[in-house]
């Protein structure tokens, strides 16, 4: 195992603005792979924007962002391995099954492999009984689990989650936390924004504090709460 493995994401002299309004400023930040990293900070501090930027959903920006050692724009590996999940995820019209099938077909999975991946992801996220339900009629917690299942089905091992447990009832919140902890144990990289200290304390390995668009260096979660 190399002593200094390539970080999952590297940010250098990053500057991003929405219509000339600065949103993100970062001199240097490295985000290691296989960790649960929490982005913590007040509303409007740039957490969601950074998660979207890391997934190539917003741009253009000044500076450099690398994923697995390669610059972001046009990085096919990023698109293959990472999925961003909204705070309130979008499921397309149709059933839960058709949502998963659509995502799998986008990645060119067909036939038996498609079905195996679908079943495996649905089982992992505990949504087997939801497969034939109409997707837009699901509760917030169910929608979040389907969105995660969709990401896992297509083989994503880097999940960028925007406040994954917000606006959920207690039972759904706890169920999702358990799922996220299991995914972390399975070796997935989880980058998530959160306001809920108990979620950060229970899930995160590392914490990145945001202050007015400036992400600070990572600290171990235990140290953050000391």
């Amino acid at each position: 195992m190399p002593l200094n493995p390539t970080p999952l994401f590297e940010l250098e002299r990053l500057h991003f603005a929405y219509s000339r309004r600065p949103v993100l400023n970062c001199q240097r930040l490295e985000l290691p792979a296989g960790q649960a990293i929490a982005f913590v900070g007040p509303n409007g501090s740039g957490k969601t924007t950074l998660l979207k930027l890391l997934n190539g959903l917003v741009g253009p920006y000044q500076g450099t962002v690398r994923f697995a050692g390669r610059p972001l724009p046009g990085n096919a590996e990023l698109r293959r391995r990472s999925v961003y999940v909204h705070q309130h995820p979008v499921l397309f019209a149709g059933t839960v099954r058709s949502n998963l099938v659509y995502a799998l077909k986008l990645k060119k999975f067909r036939g038996r492999e498609l079905e195996e991946r679908l079943q495996s992801a649905a089982q992992r996220l505990g949504i087997l009984e939801l497969l034939d339900r109409t997707a837009p009629h699901l509760s917030g917690g169910e929608t979040q689990r389907v969105a995660l299942a969709r990401a896992l089905a297509i083989g994503a091992d880097v999940l960028l989650l925007d406040e994954p447990t917000s606006s959920m009832d207690r039972a759904s919140d706890l169920a999702l936390r358990d799922i996220l902890i299991t995914l972390k144990k399975d070796g997935l990289s989880l980058l998530f924004s959160a306001h809920d200290d108990s979620l950060v304390a229970g899930l995160a390995d590392l914490v990145c504090l945001f202050d007015q668009g400036k992400p600070e260096p990572l600290v171990p979660a235990g140290e953050h709460y000391r």
């Binding site: 253009p60 293959r80 999925v83 961003y84 309130h88 979008v90 990645k107 969709r150 297509i154």
Partner: protein, 226 residues
């Protein structure tokens, strides 16, 4: 009231010329809308999906072109289709093809602008979800158009309304030739000029009905989308 009654009698007596004019107008409007929609919708969607410098300036330019008077568009196309113009050899001037071409050019910027602004009103999470799941440019375009089908319907109806009610292009490029290029609006202009208001009012009522139907359909489309 007497004149209106005479006009309606003329309309419902099955006057062959009146109904031929209505049919021709609808035919011209249909084909010019189709010819404006086919390139206009993808162009508007590309403007929405594109991430390039000058995108907003381009959108503003398209919006500005939309407000150019129809007679100016007619004059512009006339310069191309006239005998000495670059497309004079086609023989489209004072022919149905000329009217349809002119009306298509008239509706084209409207279609681009309405598609662009309509898609901007869609939930941005939809496009981001398609992107994060790895949908390519064409898949995203199709997905966005599917999601924005009510926007598309409204755009089609607006284009239809624009071309069916215009007079400048039809008059300049069609020449208002009886049983050949005469439309509702050019007939109204001609008959009113001659002081024969029954025919003009009868066709005015039809034009009003067309406009009302288009507006009601557009309103229903927006209501369904909401």
């Amino acid at each position: 009231m007497g004149a209106l009654r005479h006009s309606l009698e003329l309309l419902f007596s099955g006057d062959r010329e009146i109904w031929w004019t209505i049919g021709t107008t609808l035919q011209f409007s249909f084909w010019s809308t189709v010819l404006a929609i086919v390139p206009g919708v993808p162009a508007g969607a590309a403007l929405f999906l594109g991430r390039f410098r000058g995108r907003r300036a381009l959108a503003a330019t398209v919006n500005a072109i939309m407000s150019v008077p129809t007679v100016v568009i007619g004059l512009f196309v006339y310069s191309f289709l006239s005998r000495s113009g670059p497309l004079g050899g086609l023989g489209w001037l004072y022919a149905p093809a000329g009217v349809i071409a002119g009306q298509s050019i008239l509706a084209f910027p409207l279609v681009i602008a309405m598609t662009y602004t309509g898609l901007q009103k869609l939930d941005p999470r939809y496009h981001e979800t398609l992107l994060t799941l790895g949908a390519g440019r064409w898949r995203r375009l199709l997905g966005i158009l599917k999601e924005g089908r009510f926007v598309m319907l409204q755009t089609v109806l607006a284009a239809l309304g624009r071309v069916s009610g215009e007079v400048g292009v039809s008059m300049m490029l069609g020449g208002n030739i009886r049983w050949y290029t005469r439309t509702i609006t050019t007939t109204i202009a001609l008959e009113a000029g001659k002081g024969q208001f029954e025919r003009a009012v009868a066709l005015g009522v039809v034009l009003l009905a067309i406009a009302l139907i288009i507006n009601m359909a557009s309103h229903l489309a927006v209501r369904d989308a909401a």
